[in-house]
């Protein structure tokens, strides 16, 4: 039986929170919706779409970024936007506590507080050291990356690599420092990571792989980065691309199960609580696809979890078992990853080659596990369908070798 929630309160007004309120109305939820926004630097507390912030927003001559919800859409959706942050949760009386002590009662709660950039332990924040999450962060980085300035990006994951490429496009001298032996190893595995490392180096970015950071020098502003291999990199701008941690600090002690995220079941309902759900970067859920607890910090997961929770709040019963997907812009082209690339899996390049556009598939435990495309949006699609259908590894390879109908490579038009 559909439960009738009089008031759904969504805490966090970024991708996952905004898509939750849209999806609720799309499913004809007619009750009240309160959205608590606290995005730093945003006048109404609503975030902008983040992916552009490490890409076009840094490099476009005249960039713009609008909040994910316009005043018109807010009115159309009949959503009450209130200013956060939320500082506490009372599960007994079903209230969210806002920063000024104001209480917001809920019949259902959706936690959409996302994640926060990690910083370097023991390194004090100071001028010239940036993290990249908000529009304000991107605006600061853009202003600091004047032609000729020396930029050190710490962390060579997707966002670190994108930021390094953007800084180079702005005319800076760029170094990337990464603990792992290659760039983007967590995202695409060692073989493809190695290929990207080679290509970034060839494109003129100074890469220090397999190296840690010992410290940042400079008293009131950053002057240099000291590495664990003893070298010293003079720097005008330091960008930390160290990944994020889930933002659950406001929920400490509230009685939810918090272990690297809000721990939820397959339906994204918080364990040990009633009518509490979590969406986006902050949810750690029991993923039926892999039979393990998973947390994902990517765009599509935020949109999909919002849809699942909206369904479950309006009388439906849906599990979140979507095929994982992430895209990133690398080296002026588009990287897409479906499924998962695990270190122990085999990897085959099935189209193109690692110096140009390519499609690669990975498999293990007898199954096709992941598919990666670079500059190959259409060519990747059949493999996505194969992954979704649960193809075996042998099947996937046989098809790649012959039977599968593969679309041709079109002339490359940028992204």
């Amino acid at each position: 039986m559909p439960e009738n929630h009089a008031r759904v309160v969504v805490v966090g007004a970024s991708l996952a929170g905004v898509h939750t309120v849209r999806a609720l109305r799309a499913r004809e939820y007619a009750g009240e919706i309160v959205l608590v926004g606290a995005e730093p630097g945003a006048p109404n507390g609503v975030a902008v779409d983040r992916p552009a912030l490490s890409k076009g927003y840094l490099t476009d001559p005249d960039p713009s970024a609008a909040p994910l919800l316009s005043p018109t859409e807010l009115a159309d959706l009949d959503v009450r936007l209130v200013r956060g942050p939320a500082v506490d949760l009372d599960l007994g009386t079903r209230h969210v506590v806002l920063h000024e002590g104001r209480l917001v009662e809920f019949s259902a709660l959706v936690v959409a507080t996302g994640s926060t950039p990690r910083t370097l332990p023991g390194v004090e924040p100071r001028q010239g050291v940036h993290t990249l999450r908000t529009l304000a962060d991107a605006t600061d980085i853009r202003a600091a990356c004047t032609p000729g300035s020396r930029v050190v990006v710490i962390g060579g994951g997707f966002i670190g690599a994108e930021t390094a490429w953007s800084a180079r496009a702005l005319g800076c001298t760029v170094t990337v420092v990464e603990m792992l032996p290659t760039m983007m190893q967590r995202g695409v595995g060692p073989v493809l990571g190695e290929a990207f490392t080679r290509r970034y180096a060839a494109a003129g970015i100074d890469l220090r792989m397999g190296t840690g950071v010992a410290g940042i020098e400079g008293s009131d502003r950053a002057e240099a980065v000291r590495l664990t291999d003893g070298s010293r990199l003079a720097a005008d701008v330091v960008v930390l691309g160290l990944g994020t941690r889930p933002e659950t600090s406001w929920l400490n002690g509230a009685g939810l199960d918090l272990r690297d995220g809000v721990v939820c079941d397959e339906r994204l309902a918080a364990r040990g609580a009633r009518d509490v759900f979590a969406v986006g970067d902050v949810v750690r859920w029991r993923n039926p696809r892999y039979g393990e607890d998973t947390r994902v910090e990517h765009f599509t997961n935020a949109v999909e979890t919002a849809g699942v929770v909206a369904t479950n709040l309006t009388g439906g019963d849906q599990w979140h078992d979507a095929l994982p997907y992430v895209w990133s812009d690398q080296l002026d082209s588009r990287l897409q990853v479906f499924g998962r690339i695990r270190p122990q899996d085999e990897l085959h390049v099935v189209q193109g080659d690692l110096d140009g556009s390519f499609v690669a598939i990975s498999g293990g435990d007898g199954a096709l596990q992941g598919a990666v495309g670079f500059g190959a949006v259409r060519q990747l699609m059949p493999y996505r369908r194969l992954l979704a259908s649960g193809a075996s590894w042998d099947e996937a390879r046989a098809l790649a070798d012959g039977g599968l109908k593969l679309p041709r490579f079109r002339s490359q038009v940028g992204l």
Partner: protein
């Protein structure tokens, strides 16, 4: 409104669209023996839907998985929120014509 010659029936592939280089571009799709013309650019992010994944009368943008109904232009899956423009299609023998609005200079 003006009827323009978009393409021939043979130019429209089975499993993807044909991109007509108008401003803005239009994508023509075949669904069984019907033809549909919609705005080619995904309303969420810049991508040509003619290169999208066609499933019945639904097209999916391969970048961020937004889905649109080819009959109505309606958004069927986020992240898109703005519907696609739809254009009437007329078939004359092997030729397909699309009815496009008069270009006005104030847009």
């Amino acid at each position: 409104m003006t009827w323009i010659h978009a393409c021939t029936v043979q130019q429209v592939p089975e499993d993807e669209g044909f991109r007509v280089p108008t401003t803005p571009p239009i994508a023509v799709f075949r669904v069984a023996d019907e033809f549909f013309a919609v705005g080619d650019t995904c309303t969420h992010d810049e991508f040509s839907l003619a290169e999208g994944y066609l499933d019945g009368d639904v097209v999916e943008c391969p970048l961020h998985m937004a889905r649109f109904c080819l009959r109505t232009g309606k958004v069927l899956a986020p992240p898109a929120i703005i519907p696609l423009e739809t254009y009437p299609v007329r078939r004359d023998g092997d030729d397909l014509f699309v009815d496009v609005p008069e270009r006005t200079d104030d847009r």
